[in-house]
């Protein structure tokens, strides 16, 4: 697995979480710029998923099993968009809180992905 990509996605997810957390603190819903941020994080997760599949295709094996690895890749990809859609339906600070929580969840998934792939 590309460690740099995992790290970048994790850091981007935490930044997104902080940004949306700040919006929630200021009692604001998610705005266009937040959605662009979510798109950036989602693209990173998508690239990571593609890279992960390519590496599996090359016959490399994750330490903790292919099934779990694939499940986490899919989860990481779906995480932020799902939270984003919920914030579209909830135009209050609580939508921002939800996206912030989505960012934190993605960061945790990245740590797990790193463990699952192994050194």
């Amino acid at each position: 697995m590309l460690d740099a990509l995992t790290l970048a996605t994790g850091v981007a997810a935490l930044l997104l979480a902080a940004w949306c957390g700040w919006a929630a603190y200021r009692d604001q819903p998610t705005k266009d710029w937040h959605f662009i941020g979510m798109a950036v994080v989602t693209v990173l997760a998508l690239v990571q998923m593609v890279v992960g599949f390519v590496q599996l295709g090359r016959g490399e094996k994750p330490d903790q099993g292919t099934t779990i690895f694939v499940a986490y890749l899919l989860g990481a990809f779906a995480c932020v968009p799902a939270a984003g859609f919920m914030s579209l339906a909830e135009r209050t600070r609580w939508g921002s809180v939800t996206v912030a929580a989505g960012g934190v969840v993605l960061a945790v998934l990245e740590v797990r992905l790193y463990d699952i792939w192994g050194a």
């Binding site: 009692d27 099934t67 779990i68 499940a71 989860g75 995480c79 799902a82 939270a83 919920m86 914030s87 339906a89 909830e90 209050t92 600070r93 609580w94 939508g95 809180v97 939800t98 929580a101 989505g102 969840v105 945790v108």
Partner: protein, 144 residues
Amino acid sequence: MTSGEPEVSEGRRRLSSGPGTLLVWLYGVMVVGAVSRSAVQISTEFDRAPLAYSLSAVAGVVYGFITYSLVRGGETARKAALACCVLELAGVLTVGTWTLVEPSAFPDATVWSDFGIGYLFIPVLLPLSAIYWLRKGAPTGDAA
């Protein structure tokens, strides 16, 4: 509306607006986590820790039901979700204590092991906040 009471609209009380959005999201994450985890473990290595994996599956079903109730809304769903949250809290506390007192019963972890430490303690915090939110949504006025 920034927080406060669940909205009352068109008869069926909404439970998924405001703070409810965050609850739906976190419960949704736990559904995916618990269900997929137990599905993988039960299908591949059930014999290693049958108790732990079964408990994870039960947790997943409970989470699923609460998520559905929150999204559906209405008074019946509110009461059902409240009952499940109490069940969930009891489950987390029981399994959490059980795993600490007798680790040998659990060769592998469940979502509720050590009060959900592997899930940032979300499993123990979630029912508490959900119970608070659902109680706030109780009908006011007449003692129905």
